[in-house]
Amino acid sequence: MKKMIKCTINNYPVEVEEGTTIIQAFKKLEQEIAHYCWHPGLSIAGVCRLCMVEIEGNNKLQIACNTVVQDGMVITNQSQKVKDTVRWGLEFHLINHPLDCPICDQAGECVLQEQYMKFGAYQPLMSEDKVKKRKVVDLGSKIVLDTERCILCARCTRFTDEISKTKELGIFNRGDRSEIGIFKNKPLENDYALNTVDICPVGALTSKKFRFQQRVWYLKKAPSVCTGCSTGCNIDVYYNEEGLWRIRPRHNSSINQYWMCDKGRETFKHVNPSGRLKSSFRHTAEQTEKMTTFQALQTLKLDSKKIGLVLTGSYTCEEYDAFLDFFQLHSIYHWKNNPKNFEDYDNFLIRGDKNPNTKGLLESINKRQLKLEDCTQLEQNISHLDLLIVCAPENHKLYPCLEEKINLFLKSKELVWISPHSHTLLQKPINTVWTIPSKTYFEKTGTFINHHGTRQKIKAVASIVDSARSLEEIIHILKTGQTDLTQIASIRDKMKTNYFMEQKGSL
C-alpha cells in the first residue's frame, strides 16, 4: 500500500498515491488537460509541451506529465497564463500541419482537431509557407504514413522501442525537417504494429485496411472481448448498420493494458452478414431442405440415440452449461484449432489457443465430472454414435484443420453442425447433415474465461442474422418447444448473480 498524498487540482482537493504524476491526477479527477505525447502505456517523452500546469509558488509553468505530485501542491491549468501557453502550443503544432482534415482519415477522432476546438486560438498567425514533407508513405502491408500530418509526438517510436521492441520506426533528421519513418528495407510488420495507428493522435499513421472505408463519425462502438485467442483482450468493436468495421483495444490493466495484436483486429469479419449461415438446412445425399431454425430443431429426433458432442472453445460458459445439462451424452470431444502449438505464447499477448473460452469449456466439463476426450479419439468411436453434434468454431479461419475434421465428422450417421458459417463439404453429404446457424460473440451475452482464469462478460450488441440462435436458445427450444426468448433473459439474469460477482474487466 502506497502512501496517499493530498493536492488541489483546479480547486478540487484530490488524494493520490505517492509518485503519481500531475497528469495522472488530472485524469483521475477527469479534469481536461491537453496533451499529445503522453500515453499511459508508454514512457514519458515530454515533447509536445501542451500539458502545462501552474503550480502555486513556482513561477515557471511545468509539464504535468513529468512532474510528480507533492503533498499540498496547488495545481491549476485554468489560469490565463496556462491557457495562453496551450493556445500557442497548439499554434506551434499547427503551423506546419496541413489543413486537409476532409481527406484525412483521422478526422472525427483526431486529438489535434478536438483540442484545437477546445483550446485553440482560432486566429492563425502563420502566413509563411508550410514545410512540405512526404505524403502517403508505405510502411509495409498494414500501415500508411503521412509525414506532413505527423506532430512528432514520438508515441509510435516509443511503442516500437518499448512495447513491441522491434525498433522499426525512428525519427530521422532534426528540427522541423524531422520525420517519422522506417529504414528502407525494413517495413513495420510486427504482430502489434497496428497499435501505433491507435495511439497516433493525428492522421499520420493509418491502417491500410480501414483507411477510407468509413468516416469514423458513422461508427458506433461497443465494448467486447476479443475472440482471436485465449488471452481475451478487451476490445471496442466499431460498427454501423452496414456491419462491423474495425476492432480496437480497450484498456484493461490486468489483461492487455492498452494493446492488442493485429490478428485480433481481424476477428470482426466473420461476424458480418456476408458469408454467414442465414437459415437452417437439412442436407442429405439426395436433397437440401431449407427451414427455419425452430423447424429444424423441432424435426430433429434426439430420443434414445447415442449422441456424441464435439465442442470448441468459442462458446460462452452459459452455453456449455445449458448444453451439457440437457443432453444425455455418449461421449464429448474437444476440438482444438491446432494441437501442436496450442500452448504457444509469445510472452506478450498472442497465444496458440485461438479460442476465447477454452478454460470455460474445461470448467463446465469438470464441474459435471464428465470426460472430455481429444478430437483424435473420435475417429475410433464415430461408428458407435447415432448422432454427432458439432459446436463448430465461430471463426473458421483460425482452424487450419477445418476440412480434415469436417471429413471426419461426415462419417457419422447423422451430423448436426452448429456454427455461424457453413462449409461447402457439408452441403453434399452421404448421410444426413443439419446445419444450424449460431450466434457470434457480437450477438450473444455470456461469459468467457481467459487463459489466466479471468471471467469476462460479453454483451449482445446487435442482431445480425435473425435466424441465428445461441446454444442456450437452442436448448430452450428443444426443452420447451417454444421460441420465447424472454425466458432466456431471466435465466441469464439468474446466472449473472451467480457468476459475475468478482469478475474483472466487466462491461
Partner: protein, 426 residues
C-alpha cells in the same frame, strides 16, 4: 589588465607536451589533491565560488554535491562540444594545454569518486582531438591515469568521444544522449544528470574551462581564487572576442572586468573609422547590448543579468555600424533553426517560423505586424521546452527586435536590402 591564471604558460611551445607541462609545475596539484579527502575537495570548489563556464553559470561545487551518496558507478563528462557561435576558448585550451584539462579532470573525478570519464569533443576540432589523444597516451604512460594513480589507490580511466556536428550536444543531457550513441536530444529533467545521467548512472558534466580551473583552486586554495573577480562571480574567465575588433582572440580577465576596457584596451578597439553599434556579450544566445549599454557593462554574471543579457560562454561578438542588425539576426535565427533537435514542438516549429519571418523582413517582404509576431512567438518559446535552445533562439530575437526596432522598420517600409558585405544570404 589580463589576469593569467589558466593561460599563464600558454605562450610556451612545449606546454602541450607532458614534459613541458611538468616543467611549469604540472601534475603537482594532482599529488596534492590525492592526499586530500574527496569531500574536502568538493567543499574547496564550493568555497571557491567557481561557476560553470559553459554558459549556464551554475556553481560547480554545488553541482558535484548533488551526486547521491551511494556506491553506484558515476561518470565525469567533460563538455568540449563547443558550438556556441563566437566561442573558441575550449579549442585553444585543449590545443595549448591538454594536460591542464586532464589534470583538472583527474582531480575532479577524484573529488566525486568517479572511475570513468569522457571528454566529448566536437567532431570539427580535428586538431584538438589528436592533441588530447596524444596527451592521454602520455598521461597513461606516466601513470597519471589508469589503475592506482600515483600509488594513491585511486583508479581512473579517461577516454575521448568525438561528436559529429550537432550544437545541441553541447547541452549536458543532449551530450549524454549522444555519448550513449543516440541522437543528441536532451533528456527530460528531472531526473537530473547528477542522479540519472549517462546510462542512468549519476553523472557530472562540466565545461573544459571549469575543469581546468579546478587546478589553480586546489593548488592555491579556495580563498585565493575567491578573491579574484567580484563578490558573486569569483575567479577569472577566458573571453573569446570576435567580430569587428582589431585584435580578436582569447583574453583571460578577472570577472567583473568592464566590457569597454576589453574592447578598447585588450582588443585594440574597433577598426579605424568605425563606431560601436552593438555587442553580444555571451555567445549568440545572449541578448544583444546596444552601444550605450556596453558602456555600463561589466563582464560578470550579475551585472550582465541586470542589463538583461547574460555572460553565457563568454563569447563577445563586437558589431560595428557597418553591419545590418536584421542580417545578423537572420544569421542567428538560421543557426537555431538548423540546430534545433526537433524534439519539443515550440522549439522545432518556432525556430523555423522565426527564421522565415526574419528572412522575409531581410528580403523586403516583411510586414509591420511581424515585429510583434516575432516577440509573441519568442515569448511563448521561452521556458516551454526541455532544454534551453528555444530560449537561446528567443532571447536574441526579442532583444534585436526591441533594441533595433527602427532598423527593422526601415527594412519593412523601404524594402532596404542589407549592406554590402553581408548581402549574400546562404
Amino acid at each position: 589588465m589580463e589576469h593569467k591564471l589558466l593561460t599563464e604558460h600558454y605562450n610556451k611551445d612545449n606546454y602541450k607536451s607532458l614534459e613541458g607541462y611538468k616543467q611549469c609545475g604540472g601534475y603537482e596539484t594532482l599529488k596534492l589533491a590525492l592526499n586530500k579527502q574527496p569531500k574536502e575537495l568538493v567543499e574547496m570548489v564550493k568555497a571557491s565560488g567557481l561557476r560553470g563556464r559553459g554558459g549556464a553559470g551554475f556553481p560547480t561545487g554545488v553541482k558535484w554535491s548533488f551526486l547521491p551518496d551511494n556506491n553506484e558507478p558515476r561518470y565525469l563528462l567533460c563538455n568540449a562540444d563547443e558550438g556556441e557561435p563566437g566561442t573558441f576558448k575550449d579549442r585553444m585550451m585543449m590545443e595549448k594545454a591538454p594536460h591542464q584539462l586532464i589534470e583538472g579532470m583527474i582531480i575532479s573525478a577524484f573529488a566525486i569518486q568517479s572511475h570513468k570519464s569522457y571528454i566529448y569533443i566536437r567532431g570539427e576540432y580535428t586538431d584538438s582531438i589528436s592533441i588530447i589523444e596524444q596527451a592521454l597516451k602520455e598521461a597513461y604512460k606516466q601513470g597519471y591515469l589508469g589503475k592506482n594513480i600515483l600509488n594513491s589507490g585511486f583508479d581512473h580511466e579517461m577516454d575521448i568521444y568525438v561528436g559529429a556536428g550537432a550544437y545541441i550536444c553541447g547541452e549536458e543531457t543532449g551530450m549524454i544522449s549522444s555519448l550513449e550513441g543516440k541522437k543528441g536530444q536532451p533528456k527530460l529533467k528531472p531526473p537530473y544528470p547528477a542522479v540519472k545521467g549517462y546510462l542512468e548512472k549519476p553523472t557530472v558534466v562540466n565545461n573544459v574551462e571549469t575543469l581546468a580551473a579546478v587546478v589553480p583552486i586546489v593548488r592555491d586554495g579556495a580563498e585565493k581564487y575567491k578573491a579574484i573577480g567580484t563578490e558573486r562571480s569569483a575567479g577569472t574567465k577566458i573571453f573569446s572576442v570576435s567580430g569587428n575588433v582589431v585584435k580578436p582572440g582569447n583574453y583571460e580577465v578577472p570577472l567583473g572586468y568592464p566590457l569597454m576596457d576589453m574592447i578598447n584596451k585588450l582588443c585594440g578597439g574597433l577598426p579605424p573609422g568605425r563606431k560601436l553599434k552593438a555587442c553580444i556579450p555571451g555567445g549568440s544566445s545572449a541578448p544583444v547590448l546596444t552601444a550605450e549599454e556596453c558602456e555600463k557593462a561589466c563582464l560578470d554574471y550579475e551585472n550582465l543579468m541586470d542589463l538583461g543579457s547574460m555572460l553565457g560562454s563568454g563569447a563577445i561578438i563586437v558589431i560595428d555600424d557597418s553591419n545590418s542588425m536584421v542580417d545578423i539576426l537572420s544569421v542567428i535565427m538560421h543557426f537555431y533553426h538548423h540546430e534545433s533537435c526537433g524534439q519539443c514542438t515550440p522549439c522545432r516549429e518556432g525556430t523555423g517560423w522565426l527564421d522565415q519571418i526574419v528572412k522575409n523582413i531581410l528580403h523586403g517582404k516583411g510586414r509591420l505586424q511581424d515585429l510583434d509576431l516575432i516577440q509573441n512567438i519568442s515569448q511563448h518559446m521561452m521556458g516551454k521546452t526541455i532544454c534551453a535552445l528555444s530560449d537561446a533562439a528567443a532571447l536574441p530575437a526579442i532583444s534585436f527586435v526591441t533594441k533595433f526596432k527602427n532598423e527593422f522598420i526601415d527594412y519593412i517600409q523601404q524594402n532596404k536590402i542589407s549592406s554590402d558585405n553581408l548581402n549574400q544570404v546562404v
